[in-house]
């Protein structure tokens, strides 16, 4: 056997961290204690690399009820109601076992929602995968989609949206970020507090097994012999649906002092974090924890990541009634410890104390400040100019090619595998700029979306970050919703590399700036680092999950052209750029150039204007210009509306840039000729440029330049065929 490393090193602690632990304890930690520190001080639980960066995010605003720090963020939607939402990554597990990895991701984030007292009412997911040409990628992608459906459909939570981006940088390391949104009355919001010394700690749900221990540390020496603890966990969505009902009933009846799901680092993190928030101590007796496997060690029980488990704090006099309610729902539960006042985190194995650490020491982990350095590629790629790029002759076939690019093509193959209608609230389902749900018993609607363009974030992390926020907000504005707040998923490579840390900082700075300008605070989020294969990092991949509010859900709109003879109007300044575009990547095989500029003040006005037009019922459709540029955006309105349009571009420039160049802060809307004046007036009042581009109707999309030359003349059936069939054609 080669030289044996000390346990703390195997577990990923640095020597400074280990010294600090010895210092805190005044002695060396035992094996279990070392393990507890290792998981709680890991990047996943402690955000040691990202915490100082995350401070940049604005987290307060008029709608915010609960910002970051709890299991999920909470925003006010009026009438005494609130939305609870969060995004969570399950990247690594999905790469190992796509179905279960994605499924347990969906289950995990749903627990973060109902743990706050909210009933999950919608799920979304943001996926990043390598090229579908690769059979392994197809296997992963198909498995992930099936897993999201397999779990989400069984939970009875509609999967209403998400976004997908394919790029070779995800070939070996796909990203699966799941978002869940819940609805709660203000007075029912419950937090993750282990308050009230003398109160009981209850573990409920699945029995604790050996699964997932590898997820936190690499220490395998102490696994009891016959075992090879499985790396992946399987989910039990049926049990989760019972857990939801049981926990919500308990919370509604007022029996819950505090509650938290056992997510990453299971019992350890949930109990330590709950005590940390409440400023109490906590005692857990591992021998009382219901166990699935025989002969589990205290270390295994504490670090297991078995799914579908919750930790509750209740008052002793409610013990019986709480157990009865769990029993009624067929959920196993056991008292496993108690809240203390000494501020100590104590683990017992029956009578024996097996770990004893101040709670604060576990939860106040040291921060690491990695170096940052601008990567070499940044200036080089950014300085590229399209001057020497030839303009393709056949622009019609370019349009078809773009429509069939999996990044632009319809994602129908994916979302028809999700039940998006259950609960009877879905007004606008997947496939739109944003999903819209009604809130039963009110006139209100809520809208939600996820977004993030990794190519932009690679070529210009700060601008890419800002665009991710702006675009998510724009998507909400396109259905008529006012953005309330966002949750973010920050997916990056190894932060210890200065270039990666630079990307993280830049992205967060860009996002924060957009959040401030657009007045959209961050209320929750997730960080996933070390997304690399063979030393190659993924593209910087922030995911923005945003929710918005519609005062009257009947006044929402979609992108489809509704009637023939309507006018097509472009809101916003049109200055398309070829840099960083899908066109450049798909047609010319280049990923370089300047990322589209964004003027956040203008962005705000364009969105405001669009929302006002929708609210006043002046426009019939709205769709933002995103990947693929103006031509693709118009095609995306033609296809679902099953009608063409004739467009006369009033702009000058290279044809390919006009058609396929990408631009920010632009929204395509339609109105009747009679409403036009009123639409233009509203735009003018908002200080927003508006240009009439043409008229809807016919079976063709015709786009002419200023000289009235037809650049595009394409039958909608042709466009629909390639757009709808593209992703399906890989399976």
């Amino acid at each position: 056997m080669s030289e044996q490393k000390p346990a703390w090193m195997e577990m990923g602690l640095s020597s400074e961290e280990y010294a600090k632990i010895c210092d805190i304890l005044g002695r060396e930690p035992n094996y279990l204690e070392t393990g507890l520190f290792a998981v709680l001080w890991s990047e996943h639980c402690s955000y040691k690399h990202s915490r100082p960066v995350l401070k940049n995010f604005p987290t307060e605003g008029k709608y915010v009820i609960q910002g970051p720090g709890e299991n999920a963020g909470v925003v006010d939607i009026g009438d005494g109601q609130a939305l609870v939402f969060k995004v969570e990554s399950h990247n690594h597990p999905s790469a190992v076992e796509p179905y279960e990895g994605a499924a347990t991701g969906v289950g995990g984030v749903a627990r973060d929602i109902f743990t706050m007292g909210a009933r999950p009412i919608a799920a979304l997911n943001s996926l990043r995968f390598g090229s579908l040409e690769d059979p392994r990628v197809r296997h992963l992608f198909s498995g992930v989609v099936e897993g999201i459906g397999g779990y989400g459909n069984r939970l009875g939570t509609p999967v209403v949206g998400g976004d997908i981006f394919f790029h070779p940088s995800y070939q070996g390391n796909p990203l699966v970020n799941a978002m869940c949104v819940g609805l709660v009355d203000h007075k029912r919001i419950v937090r993750g507090l282990a308050a009230g010394p003398g109160n009981l700690v209850v573990a409920a749900g699945a029995k604790t097994g050996r699964d997932g221990i590898h997820g936190c540390t690499f220490a395998s020496e102490e696994f009891s012999e016959e075992t090879e603890a499985p790396d992946v966990q399987r989910g039990d969505p049926f049990l989760e649906s019972l857990l939801i009902e049981a926990c919500l009933e308990l919370m509604e009846k007022g029996y819950v002092v505090g509650i938290q799901d056992m997510g990453a680092a299971g019992l350890t993190s949930s109990s330590a974090e709950m005590a940390g928030r409440a400023g109490t101590g906590i005692e857990i007796d591992v021998s009382l924890v219901p166990q699935r496997d025989e002969g589990m060690t205290p270390y295994e029980v504490m670090l297991s990541e078995s799914q579908e488990r919750m930790l509750l704090v209740i008052e002793p006099q409610h013990r019986q009634v709480v157990m009865d309610i769990f029993a009624k729902w067929g959920v196993e539960a056991a008292v496993v410890g108690r809240v203390t006042e000494d501020g100590i985190y104590r683990v017992l194995d029956g009578e024996i104390v097996v770990a004893e650490i101040p709670v604060k020491a576990l939860t106040d982990s040291p921060v690491r400040y990695p170096e940052q350095r601008e990567p070499e590629y940044y200036q080089r790629l950014r300085n590229w100019k399209p001057d020497d790029l030839p303009v393709p002759e056949d622009l019609n076939s370019v349009l078809l090619k773009l429509l069939s690019s999996p990044n632009i093509a319809s994602k129908e193959w994916v979302y028809i595998q999700y039940d998006h209608q259950v609960m009877l609230n879905t007004i606008v389902g997947p496939g739109a700029d944003a999903a819209v749900l009604r809130i039963k018993g009110t006139k209100k609607g809520i809208a939600m979306t996820t977004d993030g363009n990794p190519r932009y974030c690679y070529l210009d992390p700060s601008r890419g970050g800002a665009i991710a926020v702006a675009e998510a907000a724009r998507n909400l504005s396109c259905v008529g919703a006012e953005p309330l707040a966002l949750t973010d998923g920050l997916n990056f490579g190894n932060p210890e590399k200065p270039e990666i840390f630079w990307q993280i900082k830049q992205v967060v700075e860009g996002m924060s700036e957009a959040c401030r300008s657009l007045e959209i605070p961050v209320v929750s989020g997730n960080v996933s680092l070390y997304n690399e294969t063979k030393g190659e990092a993924i593209y910087p991949s922030p995911v923005v999950g945003m929710v918005g509010l519609l005062p009257d859900v009947k006044r929402c709109t979609t992108s489809a052209f509704k009637d023939s003879g309507d006018l097509v109007v472009l809101l916003g300044k049109f200055h398309p750029q070829l840099g960083a575009s899908e066109y450049l990547a798909v047609i010319h095989g280049l990923e370089q150039g300047e990322v589209p500029e964004i003027d956040l003040a203008e962005e705000k006005q364009v969105q405001l204007c669009c929302r006002e037009l929708i609210r006043e019922g002046k426009i019939k459709s709205a769709h933002d210009c995103a990947e693929g540029g103006l031509a693709v955006a118009i095609a995306e309105c033609c296809i679902p509306g099953q009608r063409g349009a004739t467009i006369n571009l009033p702009f000058a420039g290279r044809e390919d840039a006009l058609l396929f160049g990408e631009v920010q802060s632009c929204i395509l809307v339609t109105c009747t000729p009679r409403e036009l004046d009123s639409v233009l007036k509203t735009a003018e009042k908002a200080g927003v440029t508006a240009a009439v581009l043409g008229e809807t109707g016919g079976r063709h999309l015709i786009i002419r330049d200023r000289a009235e030359r037809a650049l595009i003349n394409q039958h909608i059936e042709e466009m629909e065929k390639v757009w709808r069939g593209s992703i399906a054609s890989y399976f």
Binding site: E146, P237, E245, Y415, Q417, Y418, D419, Q421, L424
Partner: protein, 239 residues
């Protein structure tokens, strides 16, 4: 008359309950799977979803609960039983309806709108539709591939037990309009007496203006009609 909706854990009983309670405004009570006595019900709904996770086979575990025996007696006495989606699967597992459900031919779950041709408008559940009418309902299932042997099929056809068939917008019953591989595009069947109906598509999901489609409401209103309750107060009128 009174409706009951069975609340199997894992199923979406709340949706059917909402439609009856809020949209047609009719008395309805929840029924628990452990129930060993059913009193005063006239129509019992087995809702869609994933009862007991659909573990083993879709609907198999729900079919083994105590309430099912009661429902079988109830149906025997002529009570109306409606199984939607998972409810249909349960009815097949109990033998109250003939045949069996298999995984969709595509082996994937599918959730989207389909067109249906009403093949029998004389049942208590379909009298508000016209014979041969083409309607649009959503489906959401992974195991909706209906199977029955040829003998059983002949009987179904002969007795007019095929109530809905998947078709295209023009009403043509063609393979391209079949979302799951069901024999003869069958989407819904009833028993010989016509008082038990099972269908895979979801009428409760298209019963409200705001959801963009109200064609499913007529199925629930048919039940009221059948009971001689026409334009009762609180009942939404047909479009």
């Amino acid at each position: 008359m009174k409706f009951g909706v069975v609340f199997f854990p894992g199923a979406n009983a709340a949706d059917c309950f909402y439609v009856i309670d809020q949209l047609i405004g009719h008395p309805v009570s929840p029924i628990q799977p452990e129930e060993r006595e059913l009193d005063g019900f006239d129509c019992i709904v087995l809702p869609g979803g994933f009862s007991y996770g659909d573990y083993l086979r879709a609907g198999a575990l729900a079919a083994a609960t105590p309430v099912i025996e009661q429902i079988a007696d109830f149906a025997e006495q002529g009570g109306l039983v409606l199984g939607i989606g998972n409810g249909f699967q349960i009815l097949l597992n109990t033998g109250l309806l003939p045949g069996a459900m298999r995984k969709n031919e595509s082996l994937r779950f599918r959730c989207h709108d389909v067109f249906l041709r009403v093949e029998n408008s004389r049942t208590p559940f379909t009298n508000r539709y016209h014979q041969g009418e083409v309607i649009k309902y959503p489906i959401a299932h992974g195991e909706g591939n209906y199977y029955i042997d040829s003998e059983g099929l002949a009987q179904l056809e002969q007795n007019g037990q095929v109530v809905f068939r998947y078709c295209n917008e023009q009403g043509e019953v063609i393979p391209a309009a079949n979302p799951d591989g069901s024999v003869r595009n069958i989407a819904g069947i009833c028993n010989v007496k016509g008082n038990v109906l099972g269908l895979m598509p979801h009428p409760e999901r298209c019963s409200e203006e705001i959801l963009g489609n109200t064609q499913g409401l007529r199925l629930f209103l048919s039940v009221l009609d059948w009971w001689g309750i026409h334009t009762q107060e609180g009942v939404m009128t047909d479009e």
